[in-house]
């Protein structure tokens, strides 16, 4: 067994029994990251010094017999929109290219407390705006299963790093599929938790009412381990639930027999790649074999999820990104500025990429006088209907099952010229975020040699059922164990 392919659970067992040290594991991972990431480009920053220092501290903790957790000494990487004290945090944008935060996101403090070892920061679509990682201001990330294809987005770097075994786990962030979609494209397990389950403090905001930080891992067991470590109430984020975090791994081995899976009929329509559809049908048969009941359900407003999602995203993003003004931190283009507005105009013109510009302008349009009722308010009303759809459907079943994406990973450059076509690749993943419900993406097969993912969608705060069903599936199948040859 090579160290870079270990699950968290396997690595933890070896660390706890002193078969390896965290420094050895971390050095092996860093070496691989330096060797292999030349062709994948999943890292914006590899933080060797920080990683080795944290690994030494983890080893001290283990040697002295202090409290250790399942994550003590485990090397991980995070999407570059999560603030890391002392480590450059760019959002893959020129406007934050040299920005070094003075504070940690709450998830980083929690992982530091657990003893996990930060290896570096993953590439992404600029500010999370994109579905292919091609909107990074720095470089494209390549899918480890086929270097000519995209890893998905926007957490493309975090998914590619997992698929190429360049970290033992990663954190992505999901605003409208940004964990699940790249997880599906790269054969990785990833969860978008319930909105409010994980603190957003220190997450550079895209859409404050959608954004969810979520783990990306080799299997459901690891995913449950990481979510348990990062979830919980935070006084710095008043939208977090003040509810206890379950011990997710304790529920995993419970049988899924007799549980009900709903298949939303609106998700199985023309346009789905044949190999994706057959993989999902095969997964349904596996669930039947596990003694689960399958029934058709309806999410009648499905076709409106995409316009609702994008309209609200544009509106909130235009407000959230107002903070990048060239005066307090980040890029500042101040030469020749005759007044402060000139600094704003010039900094933002040079600092933002085209997709960011498009979205904040469209957001201002949707919020402006004369259009507010027709677009922003209308979208918030339809959002209520989408949320009610999920409540109704999930009242009669335990989880919903749907493909993560209608196709497998597309080629680099294939969709960059038409923004609307790129938006349509998010069709199955966007609805959960306006509704706030959790969704877990799990590898479920291959189509034309590229990975296929399925998502299990659950009730508010019911991640434990998603993990239970996903884990039962991974006991029956080994798709999640398949690795690309690099």
């Amino acid at each position: 067994m090579q160290l870079h392919n270990l699950t968290i659970r396997e690595a933890h067992d070896m660390l706890a029994t002193k078969k390896i040290s965290s420094v050895e594991l971390t050095q092996a991972m860093l070496k691989r990251a330096h060797d292999v990431d030349e062709k994948i480009k999943s890292y914006v920053t590899i933080a060797d010094d920080v990683a080795l220092e944290q690994a030494k501290q983890a080893d001290d903790r283990i040697r002295k017999g202090e409290r250790i957790t399942p994550l003590t000494g485990i090397p991980f990487a995070v999407k570059d929109c999560i603030s890391t004290r002392g480590v450059r945090t760019t959002c893959s944008s020129k406007i934050l290219e040299d920005y070094i935060p003075q504070y940690n996101a709450t998830v980083m403090d929690k992982l530091a407390d657990a003893g996990a070892v930060l290896m570096g920061k993953n590439n992404m679509d600029e500010f999370g705006m994109g579905s292919s990682c091609e909107n990074s201001a720095f470089f494209d990330t390549h899918n480890p299963w086929d270097l000519d294809r995209v890893p998905g987005g926007s957490s493309g770097g975090s998914a590619a790093a997992m698929a190429a075994s360049l970290a033992t786990f990663t954190l992505g962030e999901d605003t409208g599929g940004s964990v699940r979609m790249p997880a599906g494209f790269c054969n990785v397990t990833g969860i978008k938790p319930t909105y409010g389950r994980v603190s957003r403090y220190g997450l550079i905001a895209l859409v404050s009412s959608f954004d969810c930080i979520g783990p990306m891992t080799r299997d459901v067991y690891d995913c449950a381990t990481v979510l348990e470590a990062i979830a919980g109430h935070d006084e710095n984020d008043s939208t977090t639930f003040n509810a206890p975090v379950p011990q997710y791994n304790k529920n995993l081995e419970r049988s899924a027999k007799g549980m009900k899976i709903g298949i939303p009929k609106e998700y199985f329509v023309a346009g789905m790649e044949a190999g994706v559809e057959s993989s999902i049908q095969e997964a349904i048969r596996t669930f039947e074999k596990l003694g689960m009941q399958i029934q058709e359900v309806s999410l009648p407003h499905t076709q409106y999820a995409l316009p609702v999602y994008y309209l609200l995203l544009f509106a909130e993003a235009s407000a959230n990104l107002a903070r990048f003004d060239g005066t307090r931190y980040g890029l500042s283009v101040a030469e020749k500025a005759k007044d402060v507005v000139d600094i704003y105009l010039n900094t933002r013109r040079e600092g933002f990429g085209d997709e960011v510009k498009r979205r904040i302008m469209l957001g201002a349009y949707a919020l402006s006088a004369g259009y507010y009722d027709a677009y922003y308010l209308k979208a918030q009303k339809v959002r209520s209907l989408i949320r009610a759809d999920f409540e109704t459907a999930l009242a009669s079943v335990d989880v919903l099952l749907a493909p993560t994406c209608p196709t497998t990973a597309f080629k680099l450059g294939e969709k960059t010229s038409d923004p609307l076509e790129m938006y349509l690749s998010d069709i199955y993943v966007v609805a959960t975020n306006p509704a706030g419900v959790p969704a877990l993406s799990v590898p479920c097969g291959f189509s034309n040699n590229m990975p296929v993912g399925m998502q299990l969608i659950g009730k508010h705060l019911d991640e434990k059922t998603l993990f239970q069903v996903g884990h039962a599936y991974q006991q029956e199948t080994d798709w999640h164990k398949k690795l690309p040859s690099l």
Binding site: G326, A334, L345, Q380, R383, P419
Partner: protein
């Protein structure tokens, strides 16, 4: 409802979000925005007569805490990323100009 988003509208919203753009960019964005907004118009099909807009999905009500003084980030540390400063202040050119 079809809304052509012309270059004047593009320049107007660009100014609202304090974004400098060129004439050429305004042309490109105008075409892209028109097709994107046209796609969004499908929401008009949905009857939302008696629907309450979703402003919050957590059902949290007024989250309050005690107003207690606590240590916070040191001022020097806090201002570390400021590109142009004087003493404890952020320095910018004229805010209120001739306009």
């Amino acid at each position: 409802m079809t809304n052509k988003i012309d270059t004047d509208m593009v320049k107007h919203v660009a100014h609202l979000v304090r974004l400098g753009i060129t004439e050429e960019e305004a042309q490109t964005f105008s075409g892209q925005f028109t097709s994107i907004i046209d796609y969004f118009n499908m929401l008009n099909e949905v009857d939302t007569e008696n629907v309450v807009p979703a402003s919050d999905i957590t059902n949290n009500k007024n989250v309050l805490r005690e107003d207690v003084v606590k240590p916070s980030m040191d001022r020097e540390e806090f201002l570390k990323n400021v590109p142009n400063r004087e003493g404890g202040y952020v320095k910018v050119p004229t805010v209120l100009g001739d306009e």
